[in-house]
């Protein structure tokens, strides 16, 4: 297992968000987590990424991590190229070939020298995704990764996700919509603070 989540619990004051959440993901698996608004999906992902401490339970992650937060976390004043440069240093990458290929694949290359504050919401989300993918991490945590995408970009996103799976990467996708779940290898529904396994063909019914 590359990602093992066991009996994770988290409360905000008296409000219990996660009670006993458990999940296992193998290399080369596309795993979906769906749930209603406020079910605790983002809290779960923040715990998995190390952004938040769980009250109880364990998270075990083997390998490098890429995390794409729900809302693009970018510097409004910097260009796309400057973002790549900063994350090249952060990930200690000698080259930006993969990042450049991702820019091309998502149609971002034309905006390379534009500051983020001039970009549309969908374009920012693409950059948000590129920053999580550019170091080719073994485990990817994606929080509502395709919100704001047009249809072509949405399809391109799934192409990229399947290429990652073929290369043995583990991708965890969190969404409030149980849509296109047939593309996933495993699916969990988060409700009542617990992760319930759901057959991938049933979620859309």
């Amino acid at each position: 297992m590359v990602l093992t989540v066991a009996h994770v619990a988290k409360s905000y004051g008296s409000r219990s968000v996660l009670r006993d959440a458990s999940l296992r993901a193998e290399p080369g698996q596309l795993v979906g987590v769906v749930g209603e608004n406020g079910a605790g999906k983002t809290t779960l992902l923040r715990i998995l990424s190390g952004d938040l401490r769980a009250d109880a339970g364990t998270v075990r992650l083997d390998g490098t991590l890429g995390y794409c937060p729900q809302h693009p976390v970018l510097d409004e004043e910097l260009t796309i190229r400057q973002h790549l440069r900063l994350f090249q240093i952060a990930h200690r990458l000698s080259r930006l070939d993969r990042a450049d290929n991702l820019l091309q694949a998502l149609g971002l290359a034309a905006y390379d020298q534009q500051p983020v504050k001039t970009l549309s919401g969908g374009t920012r989300q693409k950059l948000n995704l590129v920053l999580a993918l550019m170091h080719d991490p073994e485990v990817l945590l994606l929080d509502e990764p395709y919100q704001g995408f047009d249809w072509d970009t949405y399809l391109r996103f799934w192409d990229i996700a399947h290429e990652l799976r073929t290369a043995g990467r583990t991708v965890v996708i969190v969404s409030h919509l149980a849509y296109d779940t047939h593309r996933l290898d495993a699916l969990y529904r988060l409700s009542d603070g617990r992760l319930h396994p759901v057959p991938t063909t049933e979620a859309q019914r």
Partner: protein, 262 residues
């Protein structure tokens, strides 16, 4: 070193794109100093330098110019640093989580504060020199710089609690008014309260008055400036470290499988 250089360069690039702060710098500082010099009375006023107890005589316009320049520089650097810290707060967290060296980001932040404060202070003193020749120009620059640094650190500090640019600006303006108004030697020539010596700009104003009208230097008031600077910087830096902390999730590196095609 590369991480520090890149972060510092991008900090400056972002700072010079802050058009509001640049406009305030270009207009507010000369306007404030010019108004102080031309509107306030040039008649000699006697006031007691609290740092030494010495009674000095100086033109009201020159005293007002010193006080006004400290005010303008404080507001400007405070707002500039507040605005930058608020903008990059979440992004810094993401960068450090991805592996960007925290020390490099911290050093870049401090370099930006120091360089911005030095540049704004030099600009303000240059405008003052157009109207007036202080007795100790170097010390005057140092005094203005100390106020700029304190309010710059205060901007970083306020960015921890206030989320909107307007809230930050109002907080800095109000603090500066509460800080400088009771100390103005023209308005309160004999006021002598322990509370005044605890105000953030006490050291800067006392040093600036010495620089303007004496050939002496009493360093005691600067201890106050240093204490304010250290306290505000320490809180802001501690908050940065806390905010960029990553919780251990039992991560273990391993041999990588073949690279994905993209």
């Amino acid at each position: 070193m590369n991480a520090y250089r890149t972060a510092t360069a991008y900090n400056f690039l972002a700072l010079v794109k802050n058009r509001l702060a640049l406009t305030l710098l270009a207009v507010l500082v000369p306007l404030w100093i010019t108004i102080a010099k031309t509107v306030a009375t040039p008649d000699s006023t006697a006031f007691r330098l609290r740092a030494t107890g010495q009674v000095l005589h100086a033109g009201g316009d020159e005293i007002t110019m010193i006080s006004g320049s400290l005010n303008a520089v404080s507001l400007l650097v405070g707002f500039w640093m507040f605005s930058a810290a608020r903008r990059t707060s979440d992004f810094d967290r993401r960068l450090t989580a991805a592996g960007y060296p925290r020390r490099a980001l911290l050093a870049a932040e401090l370099t930006t504060l120091l360089a911005t404060a030095a540049m704004v202070s030099a600009y303000a003193v240059a405008w003052m020199l157009l109207y007036w020749t202080p007795r100790q120009t170097g010390l005057l620059i140092f005094a203005v710089l100390s106020a700029a640094l304190i309010y710059g650190a205060m901007g970083l500090f306020l960015a921890l609690f206030l989320s909107s640019e307007v809230a930050g600006m109002v907080a800095i303006i109000m603090t500066s008014i509460i800080d400088l108004a009771p100390q103005n030697p023209v308005a309160a020539t004999t006021a002598d309260s322990l509370l005044i010596t605890l105000l953030p700009s006490y050291g800067s104003l006392q040093t600036a008055l010495q620089a303007g009208f004496t050939h002496h230097l009493t360093v005691a008031p600067l201890a106050n400036s240093l204490a304010w600077l250290c306290a505000l910087s320490a809180i802001a830096l501690a908050a940065f470290v806390r905010r960029t902390r990553i919780h251990n999730v039992g991560q273990q590196p391993r041999e990588r499988p073949h690279r994905a095609r993209l």
